[in-house]
């Protein structure tokens, strides 16, 4: 049953980092550092060899009895990421004699689909990844299935490690699960995932640009130049739905501000901002102007990024979790999607599936310690070594990136994450706003961009879904 996602588009939050990571394996030319892992469940014995890297301060209060810590991940298929976890698990076991980690890996879809039922039983993991948003983590909080982590978060200063903005958007909920983005902390991410603009620098240069666009206006001018030159402007694939949602959120952020979009995601108001219409008009305009990949409505995100990695197209809109390797890494860059002006930096940038402790966990304290460990600044080193973006900012990123020989978009993914976290504003994924919004936006925007519905009809469809859920959530 493990890793059996058919891995397509559409529903729920399918095109969130993890499933995309699964897909990425299938893509030709998009090979992350291939590791031999991929087993679904690894149980390393407590007599495992000592970890190669350090970080974990050995603890004196070793449990007298052997304890098995059951850790459940939803990163199935993301081998490089899992390799990082394996290394961290070994380090954690070494630092905590008597503790054995049972690391169970599920596909993202399997995790999200089965989590509510699983956690409502008695036989639950000690630590599990969850998905953000009202439809996922919010539901678990409402049902009382996950426990708050505030004590250890305060004790270890998680907000200092990752920044309160990121902590809040990944894991804060009111205890009734009704309000997202503030309240108690129910989950924290170990690695980061952000959506940005991939740029082919060589094509940009041939069009007369030697840098990535710093404003929406400039980006549109570049798209237009590309069109004139007969080059696909934005490599775009719509079948997963993710790219439309990111495009809409990025445009809306450009027309308003990152904070406004964060408020939309958290459902502060029942009414969408008026600029949503402007974003819709731009989406339709770009599609109709021929800026997008031909056949975009039948292509998926991974496919088009694969084409981009092989030299096709000026831009691609995609996630940092899909960084690809290239023979000419210096030709490619990954930057935050431009906003209104160069002075503003914002991006859809959340942690990967946050780690939570189920209410019925048998070893809650050890579980919290584990989460604390994998989000520590020391763990960052292992994450960067594995080519991943650590959610925690350690300050050594640039040096570690160079030390590990990361180049091109692999380096940008980490360096720009630090840039967004320190100089800009991270926002969450828009589909967290309502359980059905992902599908609503995905479906309506395809219709919008194919010219089947008008921008106003698009906004109405989004507003109907959003308004109904937000009003009901506030009323109950």
């Amino acid at each position: 049953m493990k890793n059996t996602t058919i891995g397509r588009r559409g529903s729920g939050s399918l095109l969130r980092p993890r499933s995309a990571a699964i897909l990425s394996l299938a893509a030709v030319g998009l090979v992350l550092a291939a590791c031999s892992s991929g087993g679904s469940s690894t149980e390393s014995s407590s007599g495992a060899p000592a970890p190669s890297s350090s970080g974990a301060a050995p603890t004196s209060e070793a449990p007298a009895e052997p304890v098995e810590l059951w850790v459940q991940s939803g990163n199935g298929g993301a081998d490089a990421l899992l390799a990082g976890y394996e290394e961290l698990n070994a380090a954690f076991e070494a630092a905590n004699p008597g503790v054995t980690i049972k690391f169970e890996v599920k596909s993202f879809t399997e995790l999200v689909d089965t989590l509510p039922l699983q956690l409502s039983g008695d036989d639950v993991p000690d630590v599990t990844q969850v998905n953000q948003g009202y439809g996922s983590l919010g539901q678990l909080v409402t049902s009382g299935l996950v426990a708050p982590l505030d004590d250890i978060a305060t004790a270890s200063d998680w907000a200092g490690r990752q920044g309160e903005a990121l902590i809040a958007l990944n894991g804060r909920f009111s205890p009734d699960g009704k309000d997202m983005g503030a309240g108690e902390l129910y989950g924290v991410s170990a690695t980061g995932a952000w959506v940005g603009l991939y740029i082919n620098k060589e094509i940009a240069k041939s069009l007369g640009y030697d840098a990535a666009p710093t404003s929406l206006e400039e980006m549109e001018a570049m798209l237009d130049k590309a069109k004139e030159a007969g080059v696909p402007g934005l490599m775009f694939g719509a079948t997963d739905g993710g790219e439309q949602i990111w495009l809409m959120a990025n445009l809306l952020m450009g027309y308003t501000s990152p904070q406004t979009v964060t408020d939309v995601i958290n459902g502060v108001n029942e009414q969408l901002p008026p600029e949503t219409l402007q974003a819709a008009e731009t989406m339709q305009k770009w599609a109709e102007a021929g800026y997008l990949t031909e056949g975009w409505a039948a292509l998926d995100s991974t496919e088009v990024l694969g084409m981009f990695a092989e030299g096709e197209g000026l831009f691609a809109l995609n996630g940092s979790w899909n960084v690809f390797q290239s023979d000419t890494p210096e030709n490619y860059g990954l930057v935050p999607f431009p906003l209104a002006s160069a002075s503003e930096i914002g991006a859809i940038a959340s942690g990967d599936l946050p780690w939570s402790v189920p209410t019925n966990a048998k070893n809650p304290d050890l579980a919290k310690k584990y989460i604390d460990f994998i989000t520590s600044p020391e763990a960052s080193e292992i994450w960067i070594k594995a080519g991943q973006v650590p959610a925690t900012i350690s300050g050594n990123e640039q040096a570690l990136v160079e030390a590990n020989g990361l180049v091109g978009v692999s380096a940008d993914a980490i360096v720009q994450w630090v840039n967004i976290m320190t100089n800009g504003t991270p926002i969450g994924f828009p589909d967290w706003a309502t359980p059905t919004w992902y599908d609503t936006i995905a479906q309506s925007s395809t219709a919008l961009m194919a010219g089947e519905i008008s921008p106003q009809e698009f906004v109405d469809a989004l507003q109907a879904d959003y308004g109904a859920f937000t009003a009901e959530r506030k009323a109950s």
């Binding site: 588009r9 729920g12 509510p116 049902s143 719509a238 739905g241 409505a297 395809t446």
Partner: protein, 309 residues
């Protein structure tokens, strides 16, 4: 029943058991024999079905307390354009899953029957094969064939029909027919196998008699072949229409209901509502309506099959 008392008086012999039973009437012990199967059926099919009907009157995520909403979920299906369109799409798929395969099947069965072709068994197997392959695999293959840069479009461009090339599964007009054609491809072998078997069973005398009476091929088909295939047609219709209405895997893999809502079907919505957005009640209502529609369609077909007699 009065019959049992009549027959006993008529027989006029004393019966060993106080419970009277007509000759040929099943003994009650028969129920004991079917008990194990009946229990399994009740536990795994009937009880869940009843429970899902029960759930369809509630709203909630299935974990926390559900709220009783009466028929609201059903009203939604009748009034919400997306939900309603799912059923229209399912009926449109019947054309591709049922009617077209049966039309082609009838034509080929008649032709194959009239003229003996060498290696019929081979063709029959080859054509039946799609029905045996896992639908998911078929969907993956066809998604590839129909991709914007897939073989179909390349072929069209190669033969100078490039203007026909399009992103088939991303086209609001063509996505549903494209998915439907895959259904035709799957079902057609099954239908042909059924009808071929049926045609072979029709006595040749009937054809001879028809020909002696001066019937042409069309008359022969109408007066002999079609009535002779009545039962096979009913079976073919029931199987293919049910497949069309409950179609999930092909849609899930090929389009996930997209582009927009252009290929959304009821069973896909059941899955989506139950597992993706945790609206258990709405999913249960959708499932219930789907089952009722399938039963109704099958009753109609069965009745039509009987009525032709």
């Amino acid at each position: 029943m009065s019959l049992s008392s009549v027959s006993v008086t008529a027989g006029g012999r004393p019966t060993s058991s106080p419970r009277k039973r007509a000759p040929g009437e099943p003994r009650s012990i028969g129920y004991l024999y079917i008990l194990p199967a009946a229990l399994i059926y009740a536990a795994f099919v009937f009880a869940p079905f009843l429970h899902s009907i029960y759930l369809s009157f509630f709203e909630g995520n299935g974990i926390t307390r559900m709220e009783f909403v009466g028929l609201a979920n059903y009203v939604d299906i009748a009034t919400n354009p997306t939900l309603r369109s799912a059923f229209f799409h399912a009926f449109e798929l019947i054309v591709f899953y049922s009617l077209i395969p049966i039309a082609i099947g009838l034509l080929l069965a008649t032709a194959l029957h009239r003229s003996r072709i060498r290696g019929v068994a081979f063709y029959r197997t080859a054509l039946f094969l799609p029905y045996v392959i896992a639908p998911t695999a078929i969907a993956v293959i066809w998604r590839w064939i129909l991709a914007p840069r897939g073989p179909l479009n390349s072929f069209l461009e190669a033969v100078g029909l490039g203007f026909l090339a399009r992103p088939w599964l991303g086209d609001f007009t063509w996505a549903l027919p494209s998915v439907g054609m895959v259904g035709t491809w799957i079902m057609f072998g099954l239908v042909l196998a059924l009808l071929l078997a049926g045609v072979q069973k029709i006595p040749n005398d009937l054809y001879e008699a028809a020909r002696l009476d001066g019937a042409g091929p069309w008359m022969e088909f109408r007066a002999v072949t079609l009535p002779g295939l009545r039962y096979e047609l009913v079976v073919a219709l029931v199987l293919t229409m049910t497949a069309a209405l409950r179609n999930f895997d092909i849609i899930y893999v090929m389009t996930s209901g997209g582009p927009g809502n252009a290929t959304v079907v009821p069973s896909y919505l059941v899955y989506q509502q139950a597992f993706k957005v945790a609206q258990i009640g709405a999913a249960a209502a959708m499932g219930t309506v789907l089952v009722l529609v399938i039963i109704a369609v099958n009753l109609l077909v069965a009745r039509a099959g009987r009525g032709e007699r």
